[in-house]
Symmetry: C2
Subunit: 450 residues, 2 copies
């Protein structure tokens, strides 16, 4: 049997590794459009910040690691067509010589493309997107050779805030422009504002409720124009306003798509076409709390979905248990993250959400180094069910793994109150007898009963 | 209604606070035998290490905080008898003038006493126990005035390893003596040995499989004698070999006791006697995995049980959902902890345990500061159910809150395999796309299928 996988990033590689783990005899071919299999896209900001010296370090595994498992890697190989009825794909290796590769089972893991807004001036050489290794090399070369003094980052999502940190570390004066009322609109405004204050204290200039209308190439640099009426002159513009599923290939083959053009899959990561699975940033993702599909491209999800697609493509029957939208980001000294639903998302989903938050120390304040962290919980009023949580604080305050306590609780549909029954670990240098997530639960209960 | 609480540490204070939270009108009196209400016993090693300058900082709340809630605090007040039939307690305020205090509801939270082994020489002035604030002051005074150069710590449990760290920080040469094959016998030998190596690298001398037979007062110091034949001359001996429930008062009143003399309570923290609840280190604790009672004195458990006893004493009906034995400790640069069952405990409980462990980075190794952490899982072979987990590594590697992911999973009786379905948070500076606890789950599955 021949398993062919289109795409060599998180989902594709995970599918290949899992298929190989379960079946030592099957033939596996992985096709990727560039020369960088299994690179950590999430690590790009830390390469561009200078915190990582060698870009090669970004590989989760080397080409050799992968090939030593008997997985055929075909680099710089574009799939130009999927012939679903014939069970074959057409390949182009850059020489415009099309060849065909037959498959028995196919996993589509073509990922996402960065959104390129249709702004005047977007094609200017001072304007950069950031998604692939090649994008990174282009930007790194520009940073090194042109030595820009200032940058405007359009979009204050995860990549935007990470890149504001990264470019500030390189002594570049950064202005971060965001349409929403605060940076990182994926968290509540109150927490977004806390992050914004922290970023401003580190020298980032932040403009919110600001919409970019045009980029004007001024020869030696660029002018960013926006509404309400403003203009910024800068040496570099980075556009990071999100991604969209890269599914033209699948669509042309008759694979059904849904939200934003993402591939429709069932809980087994199977598409509508025989012997074709799909996973990662190119698919619709089942959300465990919403009980429905959404578009939610995340590296962790891509790993899980890829692993499941690989398992099922070699005869398994494992279901994807759903995403909770768990996300965390480090910006300067802070980590901030979320899991589950925000209040307005919960309301849209038909819940009756109530929010409460506490700010307390990450560990007993009498032990040196305690830092304040803020935990905000969303719960459903009538049922008392936990719906979501957000945490912000110093990045060494165990923010990320405290979010994971909440994520695990959400997985099991716990009530807010029952968080108090969890037997969480405590020692004075690392927590409190009631962990901050439990203190937040107690606060939520007090707000509810008041 | 008058609620009387005997004991002013974690369980007693938690009971008082919860009762007050639920009922603003009830009269609440809290009786404690010393002058230190709500002090953090878990913080004593950090006071004695010099990391905390003022012992007053160890109070979770001040006397004023508690009294401002309308809770009557009676310090230095010993309860000499509980008259269950008459619903009253006898008090002695140190003047041997007995008085009576009537109650409607009583919570017994008398805690535990340190075990004082019946060794020759144990009464020597160079021998110290460590459990109360007064114990701490005695030891601190000795450290400051006598300036001991060396110390022998008998017992390498949590307090023993913490005090080895604390005294080493004070430039005292420490020998840690333990009967078991490794330090911290509450974790697997493999992990205990890793901690032992770390402690030895910091200058602690460790003697395992060593039993102390006598302490010999040599006038200016003390000789510790043991088997197999050895002798250590030292300036100070610290005996920290565990605690036992302090239940003489309750027993004399007819309260039923069980394991090691700990008070028998139901899931509602109710004793066998009318209107008497009990909580904390003086009671038997329901273990969620064993489905049975055990003696497992821990500060976190005392907080939970006290809160429940307080709630039920004012008319509530909340059950204690059980302990998982979750514990963590910081020693020098490391944190080490456990939740659930160890392999041999699981076997004793009738499971068919299989263990597997991985060592991986706490976050992506390409981002600076990554440190190795080891995650060991125990699962049940036939059912695949997760039974326990242990983690060791650098204390800033989110060890404690990773344990809590496992603890939350154990609470819900998850299988090892289903850990892979959890939507855990990831960003390169804080984790990997598969968190180390998930990598351990995948390793366990490979070991099982091999």
């Amino acid at each position: 049997m021949h398993l062919v996988i289109v795409g060599g990033s998180d989902a594709g590689i995970s599918a290949a590794l899992r298929a190989r783990e379960l079946d030592r005899d099957i033939e596996i071919t992985l096709l990727l459009g560039d020369a960088y299999p299994n690179f950590s896209i999430c690590g790009l900001p830390f390469y561009l910040s200078g915190e990582i010296e060698r870009w090669e370090a970004l590989a989760h595994r080397t080409q050799n690691d992968i090939e030593s498992l008997g997985i055929h890697l075909r680099l710089n190989t574009w799939v130009t067509a999927i012939h679903a009825a014939e069970h074959a794909v057409s390949l182009d290796r850059g020489d415009h010589q099309e060849s065909r590769l037959p498959y028995d089972r196919l996993v589509v893991a073509t990922g996402a493309r960065p959104i390129r807004p249709s702004l005047p001036g977007i094609e200017s050489p001072w304007v950069f997107l950031l998604h692939s290794m090649d994008d990174s090399f282009r930007l790194e070369t520009f940073l090194t050779t042109a030595k820009p003094q200032s940058a405007v980052i359009i979009g204050a999502g995860y990549i935007g805030v990470e890149m504001a940190d990264a470019l500030t570390r390189r002594q570049i004066e950064v202005t971060l422009v965001e349409q929403a009322p605060t940076v990182l609109p994926t968290v509540d405004e109150a927490l977004g504002r806390m992050l914004q204050d922290h970023m401003q204290s580190r020298g980032v200039r932040v403009m919110t409720k600001a919409r970019v209308t045009a980029l004007e190439d001024t020869g030696g640099g660029i002018s960013v124009h926006g509404e309400p009426d403003w203009r910024l002159d800068t040496d570099l513009v980075l556009v990071v306003v999100g991604v969209q599923p890269d599914t033209a290939l699948a669509q042309a083959a008759g694979v059904a798509v849904g939200i934003r053009g993402a591939i429709r899959v069932d809980r087994y990561m199977k598409t509508n076409l025989p012997d074709i699975w799909a996973a990662g940033d190119c698919v619709e993702t089942y959300h465990r709390l919403l009980g429905d599909y959404t578009y939610l491209p995340l590296g962790t999800t891509a790993h899980k979905q890829g692993r499941i697609a690989g398992e099922n493509a070699v005869g398994g029957r494992r279901a994807f248990e759903g995403s909770l939208g768990t996300q965390v980001v480090k910006v300067f000294d802070w980590a901030i993250g979320r899991t589950g639903l925000k209040e307005h998302e919960a309301r849209q989903a038909g819940f009756h959400p109530l929010s409460a938050s506490v700010t307390d120390w990450d560990h007993k304040v009498y032990y040196p180094g305690a830092t304040p962290i803020t935990v905000a919980l969303v719960g459903d009023l009538p049922s008392g069910r936990l719906l979501g949580g957000q945490i912000v604080g110093h990045w060494q305050g165990q923010i990320a793994k405290r979010l994971d306590i909440l994520s695990t609780a959400l997985y099991h549909q716990m009530t807010v109150d029952s968080l108090n029954d969890l037997d969480l670990s405590y020692t004075p240098p690392l927590s409190s007898p009631w962990d901050p997530v439990q203190q937040a639960a107690q606060k939520w209960l007090r707000v509810r009963s008041s």
